[in-house]
Symmetry: C2
Subunit: 455 residues, 2 copies
C-alpha cells in the first residue's frame, strides 16, 4: 500500500508559504476572521464558565490568552478553551463536502502556540492553511461512511489538522511529522451522540489541545506508528467502513481545501440554513407575523431531519438541533443569530405555538443547500419559496462586508466597539503581522482581567 501518512507528512514539511496562491490566502484570512469572531463571541457562554471552573486549579502558567475572557493559561488549555468558544454557538465555518468545521481545531491550537513561540503572520497563515488542508483531506478520504457511523468529524479529523499546523510551526522533520499525525490519530475521538450538549463544542477544543500535544511530543521524538492513516488497524480502517486514500495524497499543493470553506449567516447547524433563509425571505416579502401563519411545510434534504429533527427542544442548545424551532424563529424574528437560540426564546410560548405548526418532510430530490417552503396564512393564502442555494453556500457566499457585520455582532458585546474594531483590523492583516500573537493579546478581555485582579 502507498505510504499515505508519509506522503502527507513530506508535503507538510516541504510546503512553502510562497507557493500558496493569493486567492487561497485571502480565503484563509476570511476563515480566520470568521473563527476569531466566533471564539470571542462564544466566550461568554456558560460552557466556558463550567470548563474553566473545573480545570482552573490544574492549569499551567499564564502563557496564552483565553479569547474574550479575563484569564490567561498555559497554551494547551488556551487551545481547549478557545476551541470550545469558537464552536459553542455552532456559528463557525463549514467545509461543505465533509461538514467539518475546519478553523476551530487548527486556529485554536496555533494562536495559543504563537503566544509561547514567536510566529510571523506569514508562517501563521501558512500553518493554518496546511492544518485545514490536512483535516479536510483526511475527512474527504472517509466521508460520508465515517460520519454515518456516528463520528463527529470536526473532532476526529480536526486533531490531525491541529497536529499538522503546530508541527509545521515547530519545524518538525519528516519522521517527526509522521509521528505527530500518528499521535494525533490515536487520540481521534468524539461521538455525534453529543450533539445538543456542551460536549459538542468540547470536541474541536479537545482536538486543538490533543493535536498540539501530538506535535509537541513528536518534537521530542516520542515514537508512534509510521502508518496511522493507512494501516489495517489505523484511522481509516478502524474508524470508517470505506476510504479513498487518493483524496489525501493526490494534488497536494495544487488545490486547497480552504478555498471551499463557507461561513454561516445563522447560528446553528448548516443543514437548517436553507429553511431559515426561505422563511426569512417569505417573512420579509409578505410582512408576516406569527399570528398570520396557519402552517409551514418544509420539504428538506434527509439530513435535516436526521440531524435537526428535535420536535420539542428544551434549551437553546437543543434549539439548534430543531428545524422546527429555527423556522418559527425565522418567521418571528427574521433572524437566527445567537439571540434566537437563547433558552428563553426556545421556551417562549409564542415561539412554541408557531413551532408546533411547522412540519418537515425529507425528500431525495432536495439538495443539502436547498429547501421548498410552503406556508399557509390565516387568511387562506398559500405562499411558496424555493431556495436553490442558501445564503452562505459556495454559490451565494457571504461577502467581506457580511463577515464584518457578523464579526461585529459577535465581538462588540464582548469587547466593546473600540476593541472590536481594532481586533477586526488586525484580523484582516493577520498574514502581514510581524508577530501573529498580537491578535491573541488584542482578543483578551481587558475589562474582565481588571475585574479579576481587583477581586
Amino acid at each position: 500500500m502507498t505510504e499515505v501518512t508519509r506522503i502527507l507528512a513530506r508535503y507538510l514539511v516541504q510546503a512553502k508559504p510562497e507557493d500558496v496562491p493569493a486567492a487561497v490566502k485571502r480565503e484563509a484570512v476570511r476563515s480566520f476572521l470568521n473563527w476569531l469572531g466566533c471564539a470571542v463571541g462564544g466566550s461568554v457562554h456558560q460552557t466556558l464558565d463550567r470548563a474553566t471552573e473545573a480545570l482552573r486549579p490544574f492549569m499551567g502558567a499564564g502563557q496564552a490568552t483565553v479569547l474574550g475572557r479575563g484569564e490567561k493559561t498555559d497554551i494547551l488549555n488556551a487551545a481547549l478553551l478557545n476551541g470550545i468558544s469558537s464552536h459553542v454557538f455552532d456559528f463557525d465555518d463549514t467545509h461543505l463536502r465533509t461538514i467539518i468545521h475546519p478553523a476551530g481545531p487548527v486556529a485554536s491550537a496555533i494562536l495559543a502556540f504563537a503566544e509561547h513561540h514567536p510566529v510571523s503572520g506569514t508562517d501563521f497563515l501558512h500553518a493554518f492553511i496546511l492544518g485545514v488542508e490536512t483535516e479536510c483531506r483526511i475527512g474527504n478520504a472517509v466521508y460520508p461512511a465515517h460520519y454515518d457511523i456516528g463520528w463527529h468529524i470536526t473532532g476526529t479529523a480536526g486533531v490531525f489538522g491541529a497536529a499538522a499546523a503546530v508541527g509545521k510551526l515547530l519545524k518538525l522533520d519528516e519522521q517527526q511529522m509522521v509521528w505527530a499525525l500518528a499521535i494525533a490519530g490515536t487520540q481521534s475521538s468524539g461521538f455525534r451522540e453529543m450533539f445538543g450538549t456542551m460536549c459538542k463544542s468540547f470536541h474541536p477544543g479537545r482536538a486543538a489541545q490533543n493535536g498540539m500535544t501530538a506535535a509537541l511530543l513528536a518534537k521530542q521524538n516520542f515514537t508512534s506508528s509510521d502508518r496511522v492513516l493507512e494501516a489495517p488497524r489505523g484511522f481509516a480502517h478502524v474508524m470508517s467502513t470505506a476510504r479513498n486514500f487518493d483524496e489525501i495524497t493526490q494534488g497536494l499543493g495544487e488545490h486547497f481545501e480552504i478555498s471551499l470553506n463557507t461561513y454561516k449567516p445563522f447560528a446553528c447547524g448548516i443543514v437548517i440554513h436553507p429553511a431559515i433563509d426561505g422563511c426569512v425571505q417569505l417573512r420579509n416579502e409578505y410582512g408576516l407575523k406569527a399570528e398570520d401563519v396557519t402552517s409551514i411545510e418544509l420539504e428538506v434534504h434527509p439530513l435535516v431531519l436526521e440531524l435537526t429533527g428535535k420536535k420539542t427542544p428544551r434549551t437553546g442548545l437543543e434549539g439548534k438541533f430543531s428545524v422546527y424551532h429555527s423556522a418559527a424563529a425565522a418567521i418571528i424574528y427574521g433572524a437566527a443569530g445567537e439571540g434566537e437560540y437563547d433558552d428563553d426564546v426556545v421556551r417562549d410560548p409564542k415561539v412554541i405555538a408557531l413551532r408546533d405548526r411547522v412540519s418537515a418532510t425529507a425528500s431525495q430530490n432536495i439538495h443539502e443547500d436547498e429547501v421548498r417552503v410552503r406556508l399557509t396564512t390565516t387568511d387562506g393564502r398559500v405562499l411558496e419559496k424555493h431556495v436553490a442555494h442558501a445564503i452562505g453556500s459556495l454559490e451565494r457566499p457571504m461577502s467581506n462586508a457580511d463577515l464584518e457585520a457578523k464579526f461585529r455582532g459577535l465581538v462588540d458585546p464582548v469587547l466593546g466597539q473600540a476593541s472590536s474594531t481594532a481586533l477586526l483590523e488586525l484580523a484582516w492583516k493577520i498574514g502581514d503581522l510581524a508577530d501573529a500573537s498580537e491578535i491573541a493579546r488584542a482578543g483578551a478581555n481587558v475589562a474582565k482581567a481588571r475585574q479579576a485582579e481587583a477581586v
Copy 2:
C-alpha cells in the same frame, strides 16, 4: 432500550465500601501493589523522559507526585505520566477476558487525585474497585468485536474506569455520573496500530487523564449525553460491531471483575507467556544453553502470531511483540524481565542467532494460556513441553510472595532498597490508610528531587 448508562451510574453512586466482600478487596490490594511496582519501575524509561520534556513548560502547579521521578506536577499530568510509567514495560495486570490492563487508567487517576483532595484508604480502594468494574464491564460488553476492529481496549474502556473512580471520589450525583461517563466516552480512543511504539503506554496514561477530566467537568455540570453507552451514535454502536449490554447492567455489586485480574511474571504481552514459561522450564530441566539448540518449534494460539509475530524486532519495545525473541531470551537467560527486552539484548548477535531458529505455528486447538514447545538439540534429542496454563494465569496465579519479588525487582533499582521496602509495606495497607496519598509521597524519588533542586 434499557438505560444502560444510567443503571451503571446509579450503581456507582450508591455503592458502599462495606458491601464489597473481603476477598475482592484483597485482590484489589494485590492489583494496586502490582500497578505501583510497575509504575515506579517504568518511570526510568525514555518514554517518560520524552513526554516530560515535551509537556513540562505547560504543566500546572506541583500538586502530585510523578512516581519514581523527581518532579511533581498538576494532578492531570501526574495521571498521564503515572499511567504511561505503569504500562511502558507491558508488565502490568491483565483482565484476561478482555485483555484490558485495568489498574493503569484507574489507579493513575485516583492516586494523583488523592494528593489534591483528601481520600481515605477505604474510599480509595473502593473507588479503585468501582473503576475497574466499570471499564471491565464495558469491555465485556464489546469484546472481542471491538478489539478485532483495532481498538486498544485498555485505552478505549479505561477512560470510563478513570471517570467512574474519580467521579466516585468527587461524590458526583447520579446525573453528574451519567455525564462523567459520557464525557469520558466521547474521548475514548487508541489504535492497536500503536503497539510497539511509545504510544501504546500513552493510551492508559491519556485514559487516566481524560477520565479524570471528564469527572471534574461533570462535577461542574458540564452537560453531555444521557446515553453514551447505548445510544445508536454512542460508544457500543460506533466503536463495536457487536455488543451485549447485559454485561454492563446485570449482577452489579454481586460479582466483581477485579477478582478476575491477573499479574504478569514476564515483561511483555501476556499471549507470549505460555511460550516463555515452556522454554524456561525446558532450559532449567535440561540445563540448556543457546549453543545446544538446533530449533524451537512453538504451537501457539492464533492471537500469538497476530499480536507478537514480529520476526526481526529492532528495539526492546518491538522485542515485546516478538514471540521469537521472547523464546530465545527465555532459553538464554531463563527469564523475560525488563532486562531481556533491553535494546542491547534484542540486538545481541547471539540472541538473534537463536531467535532465527525459533518457529511458531498457530493452532485452533491451543488455548490462550497454553503452548506446546518442541525443541531439538544439537546432539539429536527432541525435548517437548506442554504448558496447559501459564504461570500468572487464573489457574496458576502469582502468590503474594511472587508479587513482592516482582515489586522489589522493579522498585529497588529506582528508589533503593529502604524506600522500596517502606513503599511495599504501605501498598499492602492501602485500604487502611487514613490518607491514601501517603503512598504517592512515598513513591517519589527523593534523591532525584534533590538533584533537580541542586541544579
